[in-house]
Amino acid sequence: MKDTINSHAAAVRSAFPLLSREIAGRPLVFLDNASTTPKPRAVIDAVVDTYERATANVHRGVHVLGEEATRLFDDARREVAALIGASPSEVVLVRGTTEAINFVANGLQLGSDDEVVFPASEHHANWIPWRVHGKPVPVPIDDDGLPRWESLESLLTAKTRLISLGHVSNVTGAIAPVSEVVRIAKSRGIPVLLDAAQSLSHLPLDVAELGVDFLAASAHKAFGPSGVGILWSKKEFLAKCPLYQVGGGMISLNNDIDVGGFVPRDAPFKFEAGTPAIEATIGFGAAVKWMRAIGMQTIREHDLAMSAYLFDALREIPGIRVLAKHLHPEQRIALATFVVDAPAMTQESVARALCDMFGVCVSAGFHCTHVLHARAHLPGTVRASPHVFNTTDEIDVLLEGVREIAS
């Protein structure tokens, strides 16, 4: 187990300039990948090269720089599409997962009685849109924050317009039973939205195999820059989906724009009004290329071994409560959320102490899942989320810190 983790980590660590940093004289231990990942040199170079060598707008410039920027930009969309087994024409570039889910919420044109079923454990990005668009129907969760999927069918009605689920929970790390959810949904003709924010960089994804109707994801949790993400959907939906923003770059015909009419381009371009996040998108492409060069199966191998190593150790520490600790590694990614029973210390102060005393960067608080925390009676939690570059030595530093604080 340790060999698997450390050999994979050793192969990629040098790609991350951030990891050479020290905090208060201690080596940085970055365990906050569920918030955002560090960026490998390939991504940094891609972004910097764009600024240094190809600064230009895309799909507009007739000069060499414009053409080079356009090619890099278009290639990034193609690269991301390849990662999820999709056609580039089905990939809409958005600001991130949140915008992608809002895109669907808007596109489905839900009425106030139209029901959207989703686990109560979801991130606000997959909660609040259903409160604004349609009627939220949360799937109950248990005390560990895990959805009671067995109740899913009983929640589906004639008014159910969508099932929306996070592929991987940003709190428990649990992998949702997508194939079973899709089977149930398809039997009733209900579309399925998959929030892949936490899975895009951890699991091999193929939209055809998954069988979902929508997939939303962000670049910044997958080694890319912030400010760009994707909404994947089938061509049929994109063809009829109403526009939620309009402007330059998405018009096919504007001869009669002064009298109120215009013809939009085909998807995905009709949804991408205005100058896009060019550098971020090119960086996203570089990030995906970097992950694919490692291999998503290799990343998953590291993840499985890391999951076992992390949870085996955390379970043994007295004074902490670990969420979903009984899940098998195959049912989760290497993401551990726990509560440290330390008198007079909030979970935020636990995380601050881990950083100040041990150089360990983790998240703390509610992780945009207030409903989960409320229903699981949690006063906030600490979340450690390793990735492919993390070693067992780094996990040992985390464990040392947690033990010391908990004791």
């Binding site: 799909h59 060499v64 278009d74 999709a86 381009r265």
Partner: protein, 452 residues
């Protein structure tokens, strides 16, 4: 042929070819300011009457002309000294177009009437095309214009902001239908492709001239609908390399015996056209072509030469010894129409060839033949040389492992890796490449002997 009687070609050998070439060169050097500025002068050996060997001697004395050397020139320097560029450009008789990939793009003076005339004439160098055109003329009852369609980089409409998709009527230019108003076929919708298929029939298309990469997308869609391509006569494949996968996909929706491979260049017109013997023969009247032998090994391809073209009887922007940058395999068979030998294949751009550490170059067509021979040809692919020692292959609709194995012998000495892709990248000019070298460009004389 399709069991019908094979016609004898109406074109006969151009006995004046070399004499016309001599006169054209002399005229260009004397009357075109561009050549005067470059101080390219016709030596004294240019004489009014042709003598055997004098064309070769003259060409050998003249420098090669490259895209780099004409890129920075303005239109006016390409008009004969006694003509008025401003008036002719304003009248629309001559327009300015662009060609070439973004890193080798040039602007050309474009005489559409000249282009169409030479294109129509060139079809008569192909038995398949000539038969189709003769039948179309017969059924129409008069020679008239042949109804053809083109499918390549959009010339009418671009799908870009504000331009809009032109209607069928707006895309018809006399008898020619421009099928495609959109860039990158990756983003063609089903509605766009259905419209194209319907318009092919509606237009009563006798000939379809198509970039094989674009046609491949349409052919696969037609196949998915169980439809054939409704082209009455023939399909001319032009503009880029026709891969084995393209041929296989097209064969499912169109009789392969009615396809004709065409090698043309926007700078010079139709250069070679496929005959019934399977060879591409030099189309007469418009150009003289030199085939400069390569000085490096070309594994997977033999008798490879670089195409250098001199335009004939063209008043505006005549080109003298212009390096197109394409490689071809030269055939040993006798020439049909001129003294230029036929070719067996167009191998692709020299700048796209993969350069091995041992100095040998692998042409795009050699790559495709290796894939076909190993039965490993994917739906689409792009071989990218990222540095002097490494090659990455994007594989669409095929096995990365099989593709890597199939190409390993050809790419000896290079580290080869393959990745799956759901689409192949398009160039900003709307063209596709099956091979792409991202290492710095090397000078022509690193590969080519500059004399025939």
């Amino acid at each position: 042929m399709t069991g019908r009687e094979q016609p004898s070609l109406s074109l006969s050998r151009d006995t004046e070819h070399e004499a016309r070439a001599l006169r054209s060169i002399a005229s260009a050097l004397e009357r075109i300011p561009f050549y005067a500025k470059r101080q390219t002068h016709a030596p004294a050996l240019v004489e009014p009457s042709y003598r055997p060997g004098s064309l070769e001697a003259l060409l050998a004395s003249l420098p090669l002309l490259t895209a780099d050397s004409i890129r920075a020139s303005l239109p006016k320097v390409w008009f004969p000294v006694d003509r008025n560029p401003k008036e002719e450009l304003a009248s629309g008789a001559i327009s300015i177009v662009e060609t070439g990939l973004s890193d080798a793009r040039i602007r050309l003076l474009w005489d559409k009437a000249w282009w169409l005339a030479q294109e129509q004439r060139a079809w008569h160098a192909s038995e398949v095309a000539e038969l189709a055109l003769a039948e179309a003329t017969r059924s129409a009852g008069s020679p008239g214009g042949i109804r053809d369609a083109v499918l390549w980089v959009p010339e009418r409409g671009t799908g870009s902001c504000g331009a809009g998709d032109p209607s069928y009527e707006q895309r018809v230019e006399r008898t020619r239908l421009h099928l495609n108003p959109r860039q990158d076929p990756t983003f063609w919708t089903e509605a766009v492709m259905r419209r194209m298929l319907e318009e092919l029939a509606l237009h009563e298309t006798v000939a379809l001239l198509a970039d094989p990469f674009y046609l491949d997308v349409l052919a696969r869609f037609a196949d998915s609908l169980g439809q054939a391509l409704r082209v009455q006569g023939f399909i001319g494949l032009t503009r880029s390399l026709t891969t084995s996968a393209h041929r296989a996909n097209l064969a499912r929706v169109f009789d392969p015996k009615r396809t004709v491979q065409v090698y043309s260049a926007r700078e010079a017109g139709v250069l070679f056209i496929e005959g019934s013997d399977g060879l591409l023969h030099h189309a007469p009247f418009t150009t003289h072509v030199e085939l400069l032998p390569l000085r490096v090994a070309t594994p997977g391809a033999s008798n490879v030469a670089c195409v250098v073209v001199t335009t004939l009887d063209r008043a505006v922007q005549p080109l003298v010894r212009y390096v197109l940058g394409d490689l071809v395999q030269v055939a040993t068979a006798p020439s049909r129409f001129t003294t230029v030998p036929p070719i067996t294949t167009v191998e692709g751009k020299l700048d796209d060839c993969i350069v091995r550490p041992d100095g040998a170059i692998v042409t795009p067509a050699a790559v495709d033949r290796a894939l076909e021979a190993a039965r490993a040809a994917p739906t689409g692919y792009q071989v990218i040389q990222t540095d002097l020692a490494s090659v990455t292959i994007e594989v669409m609709g095929g096995s990365c492992t099989e593709v890597t194995s199939a190409l390993a012998p050809l790419l000896d000495g290079l580290t080869v890796s393959a990745r799956s892709a759901t689409a192949i990248a398009i160039e900003s000019t709307g063209k596709y490449r099956t091979c792409r070298r991202m290492t710095p460009r090397l000078p022509l004389d690193a590969f080519v002997s500059t004399q025939t």
